[in-house]
Point group: C2
Chain length 410, copies 2
């Protein structure tokens, strides 16, 4: 399943490896960073002020290559809230610079120009850049939906079309649709993937994991449904992170986890670390410390539920407003998005900008995306009214009497 | 000078571009992040505690693609301390996830398998990974030194060897040598590069900029010496960052700046942003805020000089100890390193580990590297004594009476 680069690359025995050997030395003259000579940071006094309760050592010294071991262990435990994931043989999560970085490592390791990359349609636009363009591969798509359901049969047909090695992205809850299938639909898709001839790399983009607002949706990660798949044919990869799960968007802390037995996991982890070393070297130490401290706190569940309730409230307000205005959307029940079908997405977006309202146009699927993550419940109703008015405006521009601001007497 | 990928890639008109359009809207439903609906962050209470005096908005919301505009402007001003850089037509520095990321963007934009990548010898090992291996290109080297001087003539001969497009890395002060040439030597090298037939991309890796400990060294960046070079033949690229210049190693804030007139600079910046988007998306917001606040403070120069004085003290102690022990090193006068010549680098490194001392072996140039950035002045003398003893030990292992720990009583 490895790409040419994936086969060639391995973690070098250079400075980081030798620095790791010297971790416990009395005099450590390995790494090119500045310390007080006893492991403490030597920082500008202003930096120490700014860091507040974060220790300078945990913020400005280099993080371990592949991520801080304590954070990797804590995230593995966080993932294990999902009993199917907990059961799966998997590598220790590798820390990445956000989820995009995890996806770009996957593409370096598994995508060659001749690889068939399959992403859902509709999908997050950056898949084309990070999985395809960078590696010179074409990106094909499979339909995510058939009516209001996961397009399991259609996906099976798309997979069967040719026998090239494939990298398939499964992104549930979906961006931009805000859709999660039922448990039964997800299981049917997992069965299709398990029985595909392969070689097949299934990338589970779990960015919005845990953000479901309806009962009877798939619980936990799709990655868990691939547990025990035949490793000769299918490699499942989990891409997740603190970005959305802990509401730490700008911290850029993602993770990359392979479903594999220990020996294979070690090789894949070594190769992924090597790609990361050659792309960004180590990851943000501060971000890692922030995530670790957040995971450690006893009240995490309660504090997280409070934010989830806010989001669920906005979701319900959005549904109600859309029904009131009779707007049609792709089926949405999770994540932070609704993808509303409109005839002229770009024109509607531009009209809304004139009205002081920002949405994202997806002309390729005839829709605009509303992110209710960044709109208060109070504003959601107005957002939808403005959208309905903009759709009407674009469809039949209202004739207005001429008001030429230049000609009119001030 | 662009690679195939560099020619193909451009910044997509997707979510980030549309979010930028909506920056000033009253209701902003563009970005998939969670806010309070009025631009404020909605964070876990524990996160707010941890952030201290950093505003949550400046720490955990997404940073602008390409980097926060305020930081980019502040870094451009910081670079302009160097009058030659201030005079050069250059792009606004693009924020990268550390200097390695800037180098990897350069390789994506300018390196194809047939490009001749030239790095100094001795050099930082990761150049091979980030500039060559990732792009399927072979990495050649040029000699950095001829005796105690910059190998200007030898570099000219190496450049002239073939007419392929070239990417040449100039890293002054040098890692791992800790060497900076005189102003005259640097000017002679700049003249060689300016008059080379091209196409030539000169990557100025300024990681250790400003860390010179002797008089009469090149002042400022080598990038400034390429000011006004013929853009048809030579593109100068500056890679620098807060990592070493502001002692913020784990913050992962680097910058990428092109020497180009505004129209060309805009195209290169767009392409670099597109590569960054496809590799890591946005950069760490917290790191950027930390660097911005650090640059803004009035006492920056004084606070920075205090740390530089500590480093200069360690440097002088190291020189004195090496002379006392009659150790031979590559010429060093800057940065955080000395590269000491030893016959069996790996054996010496292993011996030192047994003694609780960590150094890095560079077997390819018959040396071990001492990083005095992380050794106190008080420990530097012991570091050198241990090194001298290890060299002697490896050269003539002392015969010791047999002490078999298993056989001995107790």
């Amino acid at each position: 399943m490895l790409s040419g680069l994936g086969r060639r690359i391995s973690y070098p025995s250079g400075v980081p490896a030798q620095a790791a050997d010297a971790r416990h030395t009395r005099i450590n003259a390995t790494i090119g960073q500045v310390t007080d000579g006893a492991g403490g940071a030597l920082v500008l006094p202003r930096v120490r002020e700014l860091l507040g309760s974060l220790e300078a050592e945990d913020a400005v010294l280099y993080a371990a290559q592949g991520g801080e071991p304590s954070l990797r262990a804590a995230w593995a435990q966080w993932q294990a809230r999902d009993p199917r994931v907990a059961r799966a043989a998997r590598s220790l999560p590798l820390v990445t610079q956000g989820l995009t970085h995890a996806l770009s490592i996957v593409s370096d390791l598994f995508v060659d120009p001749e690889t068939r990359v399959l992403v859902p349609e509709p999908c997050w636009g950056n898949y084309r850049g990070c999985l395809g363009l960078r590696r010179g591969a074409a990106v094909d798509s499979y339909p995510l939906l058939q009516g209001d359901r996961l397009a399991v049969d259609e996906i099976a047909r798309t997979l069967a079309k040719d026998s090239r090695p494939k990298v398939v992205v499964v992104n549930l809850p979906s961006n931009p649709v805000g859709f999660t299938p039922t448990q039964a639909e997800a299981e049917a898709l997992a069965e299709v993937l398990r029985s595909a001839p392969g070689p097949l790399v299934v990338v589970c983009d779990d960015a919005y994991l845990g953000m479901g607002w309806e009962p009877d949706l798939l619980q936990g990660s799709f990655f868990g449904l691939l547990e025990g798949a035949d490793p000769e044919r299918l490699l499942a990869v989990k891409v997740d992170g603190a970005t959305k799960e802990l509401f730490l968007f700008g911290a850029r802390v993602g993770f990359l986890t392979f479903h594999a037995e220990p020996e294979v996991a070690a090789v894949l982890e070594d190769k992924a670390k090597a790609v990361a070393r050659a792309t960004v070297s180590s990851m943000s130490r501060m971000g890692q410390e922030l995530v670790l401290q957040t995971l450690k706190q006893a009240e995490l569940h309660t504090q997280r539920e409070a934010i989830r309730r806010v989001l669920a409230g906005r979701y319900r307000a959005l549904r109600a407003a859309m029904e009131a205005h009779d707007l049609e959307a792709y089926p949405f029940n999770s994540g932070f998005f609704a993808l509303v079908k409109v005839a002229e997405p770009e024109a509607v977006r531009r009209r809304l900008l004139e009205r002081g309202v920002g949405v994202v146009a997806f002309p390729e699927v005839g829709a605009v995306r509303l992110s209710y993550g960044s709109v208060s419940e109070a504003d959601v109703t107005e957002l939808v009214s403005e959208l309905a008015a903009a759709i009407a405006h674009v469809a039949r521009p209202v004739a207005t009497p001429s008001h030429d601001p230049v000609a009119s007497p001030s």
